[in-house]
Amino acid sequence: MYQYDQYDQAMVDARVAEFRDQTARRLSGQLTEAQFRPIRLMNGLYLQLHAYMLRVAVPYGTLNSRQMRMLAHIARTYDRGYGHFTTRQNIQYNWIKLAEAPDILADLATVGMHAIQTSGNCIRNISSDQYAGVSADEIADPRPLAELLRQWSSFHPEFTYLPRKFKICVIASAQDRAAMRLHDIGIELVERDGASGARIFVGGGMGRTPMIAPEIRDFVPFAEVVSYLEACLRVYNRYGRRDNKFKARIKILVHEMGADTYRAHVEEEFAHMKTLGLDPPLAELERIAAHFAPPPYETGLSDAIDRSDKDFALWLDTQVKPHKQPGYAIVNISLKPIGGIPGDASAEQIDLMADLAETYSFDELRVTHAQNIVLAHVRKADLHALWKALEAADLATPNLDLISDIIACPGLDYCSLANARSIPIAQRIAQRFADIGRQKALGELKLKISGCINACGHHHAGHIGILGVDRKGVENYQLLLGGSGAEDVALGQITGPGFDEDGIVDAVEKATDVYLANRTDGERFVDTFRRIGMAPFKEALYA
């Protein structure tokens, strides 16, 4: 994975010094809150329900054990012993003191980490596929380009005060494991006539008005991706709405002017910008790519696995995925124990995962947008020992992509934007479906819960989605069906009137009953919904 050189290190160090100075000016009153707020947001610091919340960047979801141990250190030293992995592959801490934030950033900088632009109206953490570099279906590792773009977007002078936040995702396979089409800019690495480059989608997003990003350009050669994105961002910075916060994302601009008009504006700007020397030489992308060379895999390893331990076999079947290197496997670590808080991990668990990555996975971990962790390079021979270690730490729940593998935002328990609590709903649903046999019988069922319309829980993209609302001061929950963030991207449909906190759990169960009664061979929940439509579900829910 990428290692900072002296230039990268100097940038994060300077940023720490800058924020330390800015924080001191806020605490002494030289800066008002209105002046300080965008600054602290661009350093990942929110004022949240209970305290300040710090969002630390995990660029494209990849980190090593040393960095993971630093995350545990921060949880222990500055917070209350745990962290929360997010739907953008970052980590959040909920009990931060402003006065200590500069020290936290300084600690992070010692291991090449930061909280730069994890909030604010600027370009945010660039996300990617959690199986990057190890999945047979990718044309190349998407992360070198993601790293190139991370640097390009950091402290960009023109795009630091955009109309609204800006989220970019880079993948390299037809299968979309990162919800790429639901980003402001989604990039798919492609090959055309023997040349490598990027297919660009612009204008996706969730929130109040969810939209799937249309393709704006089918091919940009790598040598011109930066100037092309500069053109995309410049058109947005100039023409994006600034009159209404809820209509300020680029998806609204693309929708209102039309994709063809947006494309034409971008092409005009691109024709100009590609003459300005903005694009780094290909040697820079190659320099970065060299950091992502495959690890020194052993060869001649056996693919045999002893499945005689039934619990181990269960875990194997859900959590372990094929690796493109013989003898190796991809391991998914569940942060969704039944009744637990989705995406949360204690400092002890974070330290353990760091140790396991070092021992079993060439010192590399990934955070997924489904709030789980991946160890990408595990020898099949080591799977049993790894599993035992995970099991002892409550990290071996065999529920990947099953109904209890819930994506949930922090909700009203933590977030000042929320209208309803999401975590207790996730816990109750998981408990209702606790039996693993029942879960496996239901099969792939991606359930996503958001505590408000901002959709941080990606409820629009859930096979089953739940949206928490405030109904005259009482928490209420809308049910959506049929969404997907994968390559079969679709936005969920609302079933009808909402439910209270007991009703929503029953409603989810009723929906699964309708599925079981109607499915044909091999159909997932979402497939049956697409075939039979909303009517049978509505009938069962509101009978």
Binding site: R26, L27, G29, E33, L47, Q48, L49, H50, A51, Y52, R80, N94, W95, I96, K97, L98, A99, I341, L412, D413, Y414, S416, A418, R421, I423, P424, Q427, G473, V474, E475
Partner: protein, 98 residues
């Protein structure tokens, strides 16, 4: 009644106006009547509070109860981590929140 709440600037702690200063305990909150905005401005300028705002609340034998569930969660702590709340030893503390 109307009470005033906000966060401590340096620590981020949820705090409540007591009439003389700020407390982390909602039961120390006093009725600010129609003076809430003025107090908020003065206290913000003096950096004794950040992002202060006035809310409705009632008072009964159990203490001060903010009208909106969001502020009751602020007053107590996350309902899903009672161990991190202001009353970790009280298993019924969460009942008051909902």
């Amino acid at each position: 009644m109307k009470i005033l709440t906000g966060n401590d600037l340096a620590t981020g702690d949820v705090i409540w106006w007591t009439g003389e200063g700020w407390s982390i305990h909602v039961n120390d909150a006093v009725d600010v009547g129609d003076k809430g905005e003025a107090i908020a401005q003065a206290e913000s300028a003096a950096r004794r509070v950040n992002e202060a705002y006035v809310i409705e609340a009632t008072i009964d034998a159990n203490g001060v109860r903010p009208a909106h569930i969001k502020d009751r969660i602020r007053a107590l702590g996350p309902t899903v981590r009672p161990d991190l709340s202001l009353k970790p030893a009280d298993p019924t503390a969460g009942n008051w929140v909902i």
